[in-house]
Amino acid sequence: MDLDFANVLIFLVVGCVFVLLNLTVSRLLQTRLFTEEKYIPYECGEDPVGDTRIKFNARFYIIALIFLIFDVEIVFLFPWGVVFREIGVLAFVEMVIFIAILLVGLAYVWVKGDLEWIRSIQSGSKESEVQ
C-alpha cells in the first residue's frame, strides 16, 4: 500500500516541480516590459467588462450543499464496490436501501425547486402569488 501512495507522491512532486521549473525558466528567458494591457485579465482577446470579483449568485451555494451530501454518498460506494462480488445480492439490496433513502432528499429539493435556475423560480413565485 505504501508503494501505491509513493506513486501518488511522485506524481505530486513531479507536478509541482514541473510548474515551478517552467515558471523559473520563463522568468529567466523573458524580457520584462510592462504595459497597461498586461494587467488586464485575459478573456480570449476580448476586453473584460466590469470587475473580476463579482458577487456570485447565492443559488450556487444551495447546489454546493446538495453536492456535498451526494459527495459523501459516493464515498460510501467505493468500499461497497470493492466487496460487491464477494457478498453478492445482500450487498446490492443494502446499497439500494441506502441510496433510496437519499433519493428522497433529491426528490425533495427537486420538487421544491432548489435545482431550478432563477427565471423558473421567479415565474414560480409569481404563480404562487396569483393563487
Binding site: R59, Y61, V72, I74, V104, I121
Partner: protein
C-alpha cells in the same frame, strides 16, 4: 528506509505551516486556499497511519467538497473578496489560551492511551475492502443505513435554512 520519516516531516510541517497561515493571513481568499494545503497534508498524514480509504475520503469530501463550499460562502456572503481580516489583541490571548489547553488535553490523552505497539509493521493491505465488509456484513450495517438517514436530514435541513435567505437575497 530513511525517506519515509522525511516525507512524514514534510507533510507535518506543511500541515502546521499552512494552518498557521490560515489563521494569520489577512486576505480571506488566501486563507481559504491555505486551508486547502492543510486539508491535503492531513490526507498525507492519514496515509502514514495506514488509513488509505480515509485519506481518499479526506481529499474527496474536504478538499473537493467542503473547501468549495467555504469558497462559495466567501464569494457570496461578503461579495467582496478583498475584505481584510483584522486580528485583535484579545483574540490572540484567548485563542492562544484555548489552543494551549486543547493541546495539553490531547497530549494527556496521547500519553495515557495504551497504544498497541508492534516492533515490525507487516505489509498492510488496503483498508477499503475491510471497511466494505464491515459496513455490509457486520454489526455496522445498521449504522451504515442510519448514516443515510442522517445525510438525508442534513440535506433537507441545510437546504431549508439556506433557501429562505437565498430567495430573500434575489
Amino acid at each position: 528506509m530513511e525517506l519515509k520519516p522525511l516525507v512524514f516531516y514534510v507533510f507535518a510541517l506543511l500541515t502546521i505551516g499552512s494552518a498557521v497561515i490560515v489563521v494569520t493571513v489577512r486576505n480571506i481568499v488566501h486563507a481559504a486556499f491555505s486551508l486547502m494545503v492543510t486539508l491535503f497534508s492531513i490526507a498525507g498524514l492519514y496515509v502514514f497511519l495506514q488509513a488509505d480509504f480515509l485519506a481518499a475520503t479526506q481529499v474527496i469530501v474536504y478538499v473537493g467538497g467542503i473547501l468549495v463550499l467555504i469558497l462559495f460562502g466567501v464569494m457570496m456572503t461578503s461579495g467582496r473578496l478583498d475584505m481584510k481580516l483584522k486580528m485583535e489583541r484579545g483574540q490572540l490571548f484567548w485563542g492562544g489560551l484555548v489552543t494551549i489547553l486543547i493541546f495539553a488535553l490531547l497530549l494527556g490523552v496521547i500519553r495515557r492511551t495504551p497504544w498497541n505497539v508492534q516492533e515490525e509493521l507487516g505489509t498492510v493491505e488496503g483498508t477499503t475492502a475491510q471497511i466494505g465488509k464491515a459496513i455490509l456484513q457486520s454489526e455496522f450495517l445498521l449504522p451504515f443505513e442510519v448514516a443515510s438517514v442522517i445525510l438525508l436530514i442534513a440535506l433537507i435541513g441545510a437546504v431549508l435554512i439556506s433557501r429562505k435567505e437565498v430567495r430573500e437575497d434575489e
